[in-house]
């Protein structure tokens, strides 16, 4: 583990600092490596998407986004995220609280089970709901008799999305709350604060950024999920297509520019939320210093 940052330059700088940062050269090299990595792995695909999106010009771009099917897909995607994210946030808070504030048997198992949806192939995360609620599934006949549609309709899409984004908030909070320990809360309790108040006044301010991160990630993934949703959606145009599925359809129709245009919209949404978040963060840390 010790050799994790294997930068030889680092050793040369050993004698230098008396304060809490590295010499400029090391800093720039580290920044350089990090940016190069990010550039090759993340930025390039993004640039490709944007270049392709505008290949046919602005008019085509706008047209792709204002297509009624695209709007219907956008609406479904947002509705799905609006249901899945709050539910997973509540769950994430509860799970993180239980896991980091208490000691109990089977904690490792619980943490691992929470991680499990990450490890489940998206193909499978869709399939399991088909096995449960599909016409041939365990509850299928009952649902059909009562005229309830779950798979190939919005509920199925929401369920699959919830499954896929299930661990995000919890996963973000657990390590954070772990390092923070329980002292603050215990102090509050010993001063007479109770339950909900402890959480709101003591814990929440400490974890708010982690929580926000978690929600943003959860949201981004909820809007971008493809594999699982593709299995339960039924691909009915204008009805059960989410944005990612709409993108696939466009791509398969040789409408490359349009499909990348819609992808860039998803990308933009993600980058925008993150930018707003970091701006807020910056402003607040500045007002904090002042």
């Amino acid at each position: 583990m010790a050799g994790i940052v294997t930068n030889p330059k680092r050793r040369n700088s050993e004698a230098a600092p008396r304060h809490l940062t590295e010499p400029a050269a090391v800093r720039y090299i580290l920044i350089g490596i990090a940016l190069l990595f990010l550039g090759l792995i993340v930025l390039l695909p993004m640039v490709t998407v944007i270049v392709e999106a505008f290949r046919k010009g602005w008019a085509a771009y706008i047209e792709a986004l204002s297509d009624p099917d695209a709007l219907a897909a956008l609406r479904l995607t947002l509705v799905t995220a609006l249901i899945a994210v709050p539910l997973n946030t509540i769950f994430g808070l509860c799970a993180a609280w239980a896991i980091t504030k208490f000691k109990f048997r089977g904690k490792n198992l619980l943490v691992t089970l929470i991680d499990l949806p990450f490890a489940v192939s998206p193909v499978i995360s869709g399939l399991i709901y088909i096995l449960l609620f599909g016409a041939q599934g365990f509850f299928g006949p009952w649902l059909q008799d009562h005229g309830i549609k779950i798979v190939f309709a919005t509920p199925g899409i929401v369920l699959a999305t919830m499954f896929v984004t299930f661990p995000f908030v919890a996963r973000e909070l657990i390590p954070l709350m772990e390092t923070q320990g329980v002292q603050d809360e215990e102090a509050a309790v010993s001063l007479g604060a109770r339950g909900w108040r402890v959480f709101r006044k003591v814990t929440l301010p400490n974890i708010k950024w982690g929580l926000l991160y978690g929600m943003i990630l959860c949201n981004a993934r909820a809007m971008g999920e493809f594999g699982a949703v593709s299995v339960v959606s039924g691909h009915i145009r204008g009805e059960t297509n989410t944005l990612p599925l709409h993108i696939e359809i466009l791509y398969n129709e040789y409408q490359f520019s349009a499909s990348f245009a819609v992808s860039s919209l998803l990308m933009l949404l993600a980058v925008l939320t993150l930018l707003i978040k970091s701006l807020l963060e910056n402003r607040m840390s500045r007002s904090h210093e002042a």
């Binding site: 709007l71 219907a72 509705v79 609006l82 190939f152 708010k208 040789y254 707003i276």
Partner: protein, 378 residues
């Protein structure tokens, strides 16, 4: 300190509330847009005469709304998007003229096997129009339609056909003329995986047919032929469109084995960078259609569903199929488009391969000839 913390927290809360508001508003906004459009302009909706293709009878869009509005769900496979987009408009106009009712056809496209699975698992398709009879057989096995569904409509319930051709780069630099050229050294062949793509199964069987019929090989030799062919395959995409993209967009491979309609579509999209080579022998690909009995009886849409599929056999339907590069069944239309579809020696699945069930067992099931090609150590 406490005060500042509260400030920070307040702003965070504000941000979250604003973000939620924005998304709710945009959701509603797009919802309204969608609502408005669904009634008038969505491509699949019965939108009246003005937007329907020239070949179809014109309908009066200002006619009084007739109470009998129906919705059909057509679950189809990937390459038929363009075909059904045009056909649905035409049928909606026809149906309005015939009965005065509005019909909206919702399309759903995807890999043929996956689509069949969705229908089995409860996707309420009124009609299915898939790549292989085998996939519809599976739906029949699940009890959603009769086992003899293929006798419900003419020509084995396949209103249009296609075949497998080669798409090569302009000028055919590698001189690929026939199946035999595909196993030569230095030729890269692009085909999707027969295990995951319906189209690729037709590719595979066509190559098998060449080996057994044209070369007179027995099964072992034919398997060897296909093994050599697949040695020349650098990428096995999961679907037909994926393979086309690999060949066309990424510039990989010397020849693409493709549905004839896919090849023509690629020519249409990419113009003069490619050309089509028709091999000496190929297979008659029959993408069948069927009404899903259980669904139409439940929804009460049998009449319109059957009319929808019958309309595929009509002059207009056949014309649209031919325009979208499917070989029409109707002689008059076939004559009109005979330059587009050169005659070639076509094998059929029933006569030459003993039907889909037998072909599937022999070639594509676990341990079949395709699996044997990819056995380790061979």
């Amino acid at each position: 300190m406490v005060l500042k913390r509260r400030n920070v927290f307040k702003s965070t809360a504000l941000f979250v509330v604003i973000a939620l508001l924005i998304s709710v508003l945009s959701a509603c906004g797009s919802g309204n847009n969608n609502g408005g459009n669904a009634a008038s302009g969505s491509p699949s909706a019965a939108s009246g005469g003005s937007s329907s293709p020239s070949g179809s009878p014109s309908a009066d869009s200002s006619a009084k709304p007739v109470p009998k509005d129906v919705e059909l769900l057509n679950v189809s496979y990937d390459p038929t998007r363009e075909l059904y987009e045009e056909f649905n408009k035409s049928f909606a106009a026809y149906w309005k003229q015939e009965t005065g009712g509005n019909v909206t056809i919702k399309p759903s496209h995807g890999g043929s096997g996956k689509q069949a699975r969705s229908v089995i698992d409860g996707l309420e398709a009124d009609v299915v129009t898939l790549a292989l009879a085998y996939d519809i057989d599976e739906i029949a096995t699940a009890g959603l339609l009769d086992a003899d569904w293929q006798s419900q409509f003419e020509y084995n319930s396949t209103p249009y056909t296609s075949t497998i051709v080669f798409l090569v780069r302009k000028g055919n630099p590698k001189g690929i003329k026939d199946w035999g050229d595909l196993i030569k050294d230095g030729i890269q062949v692009i085909t999707p995986n027969p295990k995951t793509s319906g189209g690729a199964r037709w590719n595979y069987l066509a190559a098998w047919g060449y080996a057994t019929k044209s070369l007179g090989y027995d099964d072992e030799q034919a398997k060897d032929f296909l093994k050599k062919l697949f040695k020349n395959v650098p990428v096995l995409d999961t679907g037909a469109r994926g393979a086309t993209t690999t060949f066309v967009e990424k510039g990989i491979g010397d020849v693409l084995l493709a549905w004839e309609n896919e090849a023509y579509l690629a020519l249409k999209e990419y113009g003069d960078k490619f050309e089509i080579v028709t091999p000496s022998i190929s297979i008659l690909a029959e993408p069948p259609v069927a009404v899903v009995d259980k669904v139409v009886d439940k929804k009460g849409t049998r009449e319109v569903a059957e009319a929808y599929l019958k309309y595929l056999y009509s002059e207009e339907g056949q014309e649209i199929a031919a325009k979208n590069f499917y070989r029409p069944r109707l002689q008059s239309v076939a004559d009109k488009y005979k330059d587009q579809f050169p005659a070639l020696n076509l094998l059929t699945i029933d006569n030459d391969f003993g039907g889909w069930k037998a072909a599937h067992e022999k070639h594509f099931a676990d341990g079949g000839t395709f699996d044997q090609i990819y056995t380790p150590g061979s």
